[in-house]
Amino acid sequence: MSKFRDWRGRRWVILAAVVLLGLALPAILDPYWIQLGALIFAASIGSIGLMLLFGRVGQLSFGHSFFLAVGAYSYVWIASPGNDGSGWGLGLPSLLAIPLAMGIAAIAGLIFSPIASRMKGLTLGLATLSLVFIGVWLLNTLEPLTGGYNGRNAPPLQIGAFSSLGSNISVLGVPIGSAQFLWYVTLALLAAVGAFTVTLLKGRIGRAFTAIRDAEVHAAALGVEVARYRAIAFTISSAYAGLAGVLLAIIIQRLTPGYWGLSLTLSYLAMIVIGGLRSVSGAIVGAVVVMGLPAVLQLYGYAIPGVGSEGGTGLGPAVVAQVAYGAVVVVVLMFAPDGLVGLLARLVPKRWRVSGEVPPTSVR
């Protein structure tokens, strides 16, 4: 019993440390890393959505970038003034645009979910692959909304005096610029999404998800509405993707159709495979690796033989990062099918584990 209490105690210590670190880091870090952090937090929200769908319900989707795009462009549409010649806009406050855009992405997922809940596994993956190409085509075509081939600017996020663009305010003597502001906003939303997902997966709905993934027929025999829960999972996943898309739009500021294509979808798949398919922590670790690797190589690649610098000799950091993450996907699937988090869980003593939710099973 005391062991149990120790473990709980440690868990709070770890949580407190993470929170403190999350609050304090922007004061220390270079803006480059702060912005990267915000990108990672935003991407993590998206990868948690894909983890829930594929890792927990067993529904493979290649359509994630489509729903990211729906969120991003919905935000642009709702928050743009609409009278500045940049295209359609409703001129609503940017803070209000975030939940609305997330809702539109959820509705898009709900519309597709009758198809999604009829299919499973690879069939669904392949069907959703078409969403990516349909999405890119729509982005190129719907010029008043998306700016067409040349793209469109995303309006900055404004909360009170803070803004994601050109803001520089001090709070208690600590400067909170745009980068710091974005860091806190994305981190807070990631914390909310993460906590919501962990609670959801531990409860009634999460058990139904697992039952459907493990043995669909038996789940139905217990009264679980398989098709309905598949649709629910697809909708939640789309909503998370939509939120991630909104945040990415705010961070990268300029949206062009090419960004939301196949490679974006594959990078999200890579995140959950690398980090671990079945847990929120895995989805976050995967986002750190996939988003962080190029950035680290960009800065320190010159020190690694053969990498060189951009435009110089060697392959260049962008190429090396891309090759590395493809290779990591291959290696992880071959040797650690439950991802880096699963690998870690096998190394760390049981009582130290935070969630205990990492079963030693892999994708089939």
């Binding site: 596994g121 078409s130 190409f133 349909i134 890119v136 890579a270 891309q322 290779a327 994708v363 089939r364």
Partner: protein, 299 residues
Amino acid sequence: MIEFTSLIVNGISVGAIYALVALGVVIIFKSTEIVNFAHPSLLVFGTLIVATAYNGLHLPFYVAAIAGVGISALLGVAIDRVLVRPFYKKRAIIAAGIMTIGLSIVIDTLTTNQIGAQILSAGNPLGSSTISILSTSIPLARLAALATAIVLLMAFYLWLQRSDFGVAMRAAADDPETASLMGVRLSRVTMISWAIASALAVVAGIFLVSYPSAGLDVSVGAVSLQAIPAAIIGGLDSTTGAVVGGLAVGLTQVLTLGYQHQLAFLGLSFSQAAPYILMLLVLLIRPAGLFGTKEVSRV
């Protein structure tokens, strides 16, 4: 009318090339139940070898072509032996499919980086000559592509029918344990499948980049990716389906491109999305594809 006829002929000749690529996807699926997402990447890789041997090393076209086909076949075998084999044992079909995505990211990045801004010729023995059929002028290279595709598809079909290999292949995918008890050497079946599939991809690649195409550039990867919808439209476990799917994708693409002015309300990039829209429609009606017998899922 003339325009329509010419588009149809063009669509069929492009579709025949897609059919060859799709056939490779089908061959690997039939013997392993794995969807090889790296197949288009292998096409680009092999074609790049041919182009490099032809331009860089100044080898005669046929030598370069044989080298490209051979090296790709060997790479296919290596992928089968080293990367995919661990997944067969666990019957981890979906994981293996995702693994090939990782592999395609690696290969694509390297080949794209190598090609850069160049447009490489992979040799063009038929030159830019055209002949006139039904009052449409058709590049000879396209006709050769069509003829080669027909010959290869027929040969493969006959071989599957006449030899034991066809049976062994089906047995290997359906029930590996029983098949191996019955004396089918699974590793040989999958190895040969990967070799043939990779070789076919390079043959298709050579035609894909020859006249009237300008040559091998970074866009060929995206073009060859159309083989995936082609294979799925036809049915992943059907060789007939690969041909039909290839033709369907070729025709869809050429027709939507040819009539893009009439279809202007759909936007100029519609021809790129059209094959995928077709795939989605087919999957909705027949989840196993037009000629497929089983659904592509094993969860």
